[in-house]
Amino acid sequence: MTVLVIIEHDRGNVPEAAFEALTAARQFGLPVEAAVTGEGAADAAASLGAYGAETIHHATADAVGDYSPEAWGQALAGVVEATSPSIVLSVGTDRGNELMAQIAARMDLPFVANCVEVSDDASSMTRSQWGGALHEETTLDADTKLLSFAPHAVEATESAAVGTVVDVAVDVDESLARTMIKDRVVLSEGITLSTAPVVVSGGRAVGSEEAFAPLEELAGELGGKVGCSRAVTNNGWRPHSDQVGQTGTRIAPTIYIASGISGATQHWVGAMGSKNILAINTDPEANMVVKAGWAVLGDLHEVIPAITEEVRKRKG
């Protein structure tokens, strides 16, 4: 009886989500093992012992290389078959859920995505619907229980284990390399919306594309990124990649500065992972103000530049 954690990585770089998954796996009281595959898997494996992985199964096959949902899914399903764990899990990121679904499809097993609470034997759980705005209690009936934890449901903590790496030769059909990444376009180096310590967001009340300039200035002073609500991207004022929300990016900054955002459910579920929230709004009854730890009541067009000026003054 073991728990097998499916490790997502990008050419050896392991995201925080994989450490969250290893941390979550320790709650079952079973030996924690991990599975890695693909280009850079050996580098990825090296960081996993620190988070409690006793054994790391490295799935090897000629057809696995850079990320490919199908080839990786087949290789990782091979580890599940070879090691017969009772629970297999990941964190529900894009790649985490995609790989779990690939494994589930290949093994014809049920898979419960984005759990927030799981029973000791994983036969029942509470999971997120509507991006976290609604919870579903569900049961899971299978010999091998496949699930993912909702992102940020568990905070990653270290817990040293041996972390022995074992190579497992698996069968992967060469044709599955058809879904391998062919090319990459790097758009930004350094911090991103989902990793920024500070996110300064604006909603419909910002008013125009140009009126985001003061938000850019404040975010720049604080080493953060600018985000926005769905209304803003629907108006074409910002690219969709800046959208915080159920259909955009889930953020988890140290502080989220939400200006002129009412806090509709679809936005809130993208922002609720933030450690602190400061709302700037003219409406003291706005959902975002009510849910925020801190608020400034006023017009964002006046408040944001005043904060930027104060930041600059103190920095000297």
């Binding site: 990008d10 949902p69 199908e70 894009d94 859920n97 995609e98 679904a101 690939q102 499809a105 290949r106 014809d108 049920p110 995505a113 029942s124 997120s128 619907q129 509507w130 991006g131 705005a133 609604l134 919870h135 209690e137 569900t138 899971l140 009936d141 299978a142 993912s148 058809r178 879904t179 990444i181 062919k182 090319d183 990459r184 376009v185 790097v186 758009l187 991103t192 990793t195 690219p239 959208q243 259909t247 955009g248 140290t254 502080i255 459910t265 679809q266 602190n276 801190w294 608020a295 400034v296 009541l297 006023g298 006046e302 530049p305 005043a306 904060i307 000026e309 104060e310 930041v311 103190r314």
Partner: protein, 257 residues
């Protein structure tokens, strides 16, 4: 190109979500309905591909009879054909949903030939199982990549389609041999509004029905519940620009200066 897009009728997202007394459904009596946002963009992507490269797009929905509203909405923005796979509306688990849809798609393909591209939403707005499209693609033996925010045949090798996936630092490019499947995300395009001509066409369009069913899978919904409310005594740092020093005190305290 022959394209199939799958859409799901869901209560219009954004509003507060209430639950019915039996704790099994979202109480939608005061809510409008829409196509899941990712899938609405999937419909637009299908219409754009057909406009550019010719062919025909079909929209399919599995659900209660009222899903006809969402199918006709897709026709009003340029989809040629619509198909309903009727159910009694009770919750279905992802394995069951996928198996029934595989049967329906096979029926359609036996009659009229394979679809070059099947477009799913990345996940449904309501249940959000993150797997139905992947299960269907696997059953049909076709390549599938989720999270797609760009699709183009131009620039791809013969018989292939380029699919872009946005990640934190940039874009991953996939080149899938067709027939292929993709799960798209909102942001791949801005869906158009229907024209008057489109609305009229959607009223006249013929709705075809395909029956398909499947056994329940291993995941079973017990009940829905509201997540714990966020209870906060919001600290008001001040009014207007005069609050700036208090805000910056907070930023210093949190160590983000």
């Amino acid at each position: 190109m022959r394209i199939l897009c799958l859409v799901k009728r869901v209560p219009a997202p954004g509003a507060r979500i209430n639950i019915t007394e039996d704790e099994q459904y979202v109480d939608d009596k005061n809510l409008g309905h829409a196509v899941s946002p990712h899938e609405e963009c999937g419909v637009e992507a299908a219409v754009q591909l057909v406009e550019k490269h010719g062919g025909e797009a079909t929209v399919l929905s599995m659900g209660g009879a009222e899903s006809e509203e969402q199918l006709r909405a897709a026709v009003s923005v340029g989809i040629a054909k619509m198909v309903l796979v009727p159910t009694d509306g009770s919750p279905m688990d992802p394995q069951q949903t996928a198996a029934a849809l595989v049967e329906a798609i096979r029926n359609l393909e036996e009659a009229d030939g394979a679809f070059d591209l099947i477009i799913f939403g990345n996940e449904s707005a309501d249940q959000g199982g993150f797997q139905v499209g992947i299960r269907i693609a696997h059953a049909l033996g076709r390549p599938m990549v989720n999270g797609i925010k760009g699709l183009d045949v131009d620039g791809a090798a013969e018989g292939h389609i380029l699919a872009n996936r946005e990640i934190d630092s940039g874009v991953e490019v996939y080149e899938l041999p067709m027939p292929a499947c993709v799960g798209v995300k909102e942001g791949i395009n801005l869906p158009r509004y229907p024209t008057m001509k489109g609305r009229l066409a959607s009223k006249k369009a013929e709705l075809s029905t395909v029956d398909a069913a499947a056994e329940a899978g291993g995941q079973a919904q017990v009940k829905l519940k509201s997540p714990p409310e966020v209870v906060n005594e919001t600290v008001i740092l001040g009014n207007g620009p005069e609050a700036a020093p208090a805000v910056v005190d907070l930023l210093e305290e949190l160590g983000v200066m």
